[in-house]
Subunit: 429 residues, 2 copies
Amino acid sequence: MTQSESETTRRHRVVVIGAGFGGLSAVRALRAAPVDVTVIDRRNYHLFQPLLYQVATAGLSPADIAAPIRSILARQRNARVLMARVSGIDKSAREVITESGRVPYDTLIVATGARHAYFGRDDWEAVAPGLKKIDDATAIRRRILLAFERAETAQDEATRRALLSFVVIGGGPTGVELAGAIAELARNALVRDFRAIDPRLARVLLIEGGKRVLASFPEALSAAAQRDLARLGVEVRVGKPVTACDADGVVAGDERIPARTVIWAAGVAASPAAKWLGAAHDRVGRVIVEPDLSVAGHPEIFVVGDTAAMTTPDGRPVPGIAPAAKQGGIHVARTICARLADVPAPGPFRYRHFGNLATIGRGSAVADFGWIQVKGLAAWWLWGAAHVFFLIGFRNRVAVILDWLWAYVTYQRGARLITGGDDGPEHAA
Amino acid sequence: MTQSESETTRRHRVVVIGAGFGGLSAVRALRAAPVDVTVIDRRNYHLFQPLLYQVATAGLSPADIAAPIRSILARQRNARVLMARVSGIDKSAREVITESGRVPYDTLIVATGARHAYFGRDDWEAVAPGLKKIDDATAIRRRILLAFERAETAQDEATRRALLSFVVIGGGPTGVELAGAIAELARNALVRDFRAIDPRLARVLLIEGGKRVLASFPEALSAAAQRDLARLGVEVRVGKPVTACDADGVVAGDERIPARTVIWAAGVAASPAAKWLGAAHDRVGRVIVEPDLSVAGHPEIFVVGDTAAMTTPDGRPVPGIAPAAKQGGIHVARTICARLADVPAPGPFRYRHFGNLATIGRGSAVADFGWIQVKGLAAWWLWGAAHVFFLIGFRNRVAVILDWLWAYVTYQRGARLITGGDDGPEHAA
């Protein structure tokens, strides 16, 4: 199609920024709509973030939990993919500004997700990396595995103990899952591999500033999770905000914990979308949206998922989890379709909560469905089935099932590679 | 065991530098010997290098073709693993010098492999990366996939054509496999994924300075491979040494080829082992060894695999392939066992050549067993079976079979992730 043809016959242009759960759900829900969709993402893959902690702890490979956006949308002829970094939004010209030029839109969906926040202590980031991207996960995997390697050759006991101490800051689902997985790695997969150290002596600490872990779950499940963590050998500290964090360890409450590996799972902040849009935002940077998820004064701009401060019609906050982002994306797509068809819009976004799930370790998880609470082995199988079911792409599901079965039977972990980092001739790798 | 006990009761100490095919075969062949083995490697994994090109072309994940050295040797109680970089060998003190201190030996096996050589044009390395390590493979994968992404948004035709031109320098097995795999990636896996470009129009060039590709194979098989490459759409240039190489392309013979992606598969050089040992070496740096693979004047030092200029008893060079390295490692282990048992040594190393295999693409390979030559589909199945069979670790075999079956049925590639590289806020990722 030449430029002049496209001018005369052009369809309504929907631009979606971000190919996470929210953005991709919107794109797929628009597959039969008379629109041209452009998805912009700075990465070439959609990431199944709920399993990212498994990459960080050597259970899965990156390719197991990520699929190229282009593959996912290959057959959706009204969608095209642009791999580019967005630097701003020109609301008056209705254009997204990227490093590859400006992309015009008639309707814009912003679904750029969240990243970790250090609550004003950005200097902690180098010491305590967070877990949002694949490269974060492989970097954390590298740190954890290298700590064991260095402990094996450490010359003194204090150094060895600091190398074998792992601190996870933040007792939400990610923190609980990371702490449990590190403890299992040390106590099972690595147990026969070293000669000078006993990996089972590794300390894993989970530090939560609030009163209990998994604060979004009922108290009984928090207690069950904490018991299961203790059974795995994780030392849980609750009510102990971290007040200092450096290369030698952390201070939690009035306790100094020497540790060479610290991982941040404490806070998220929205992407710079509110700044791009010049829109009102809440304390953590999420855009305040209208009941239909559009931006006040700009009915042609929608914000979904972790980027938005979505609320239910009765004003309660919608949690920052994948199902909420998906529902938001689908709701927006339906609103767009209704407008184009000139029929009544579906109205305000109503979040439907199906439940909360978190896993602690082998055979241990907690699930809260409101009307029923499940814990232990049953919850764990439920968790595994749900996660495999929602993994995008048949191949990934099979690969993940295989990796998990293998790990379950052998207690081994398949992706224990120390890759990346400095591999120059004068440095250890 | 305390220091004094280990002094009085200590067993013969064998140190192995390098956990590739040669080193690991030696260690495993020493499993029942009355020795203490220390394996030193700067990485924590053994790499199945013959399939590395599949990682570089998004067919397999790194964890599919690598296994932690510690896992492989977990049950071999007389072996310990040291992850460290070697900087030298003190022959008079009989110690290996590493960044983590000195490691004393009674017998030393050097199996440090080879790396790519640019024959005095080291400035080409940044432009035309080679393929020896996992990080090389993920970097090349990143380059190839990014080239398609950038072509999709390129503003002018010349830039687009240069971005869609891929040059592989070197017509040995690695070069042939890489060129074939890139052509298949472009013509099959990516074909529906783009909107502005047609990935099938990508040019893939294989440039060989010598008279034919696969020079180590019989001429009939070289010709078959070249035909199959042409059928896949690979442009093969033989008798065209590369005389220039920069960010815009290469000059081969008197032809200037604009290309943004150039991969080096032309030359290997041995590791710095000859320098460490102060030993005689050949033109590409391989240590000249005695018939039993020891170093002249140092019967306690052996060199095996690509690090050594191994020859057969009648003086013919032993090829730099995995089976030769394995046989060398096993021969050295037997020699060590014989010495300790005070029985006659097995004598000179006799390399047994089983055959040469190279794959070109889906359903196409060549195999030369001396007494019979196989090509086409039969050779390809043979190649697949042989490679899966020799992959270390049951899990990897299953994962690779699964990835291959998936790719075979769907023409898709599972590991098409662009990871690593600069992901800072001011750069594209």
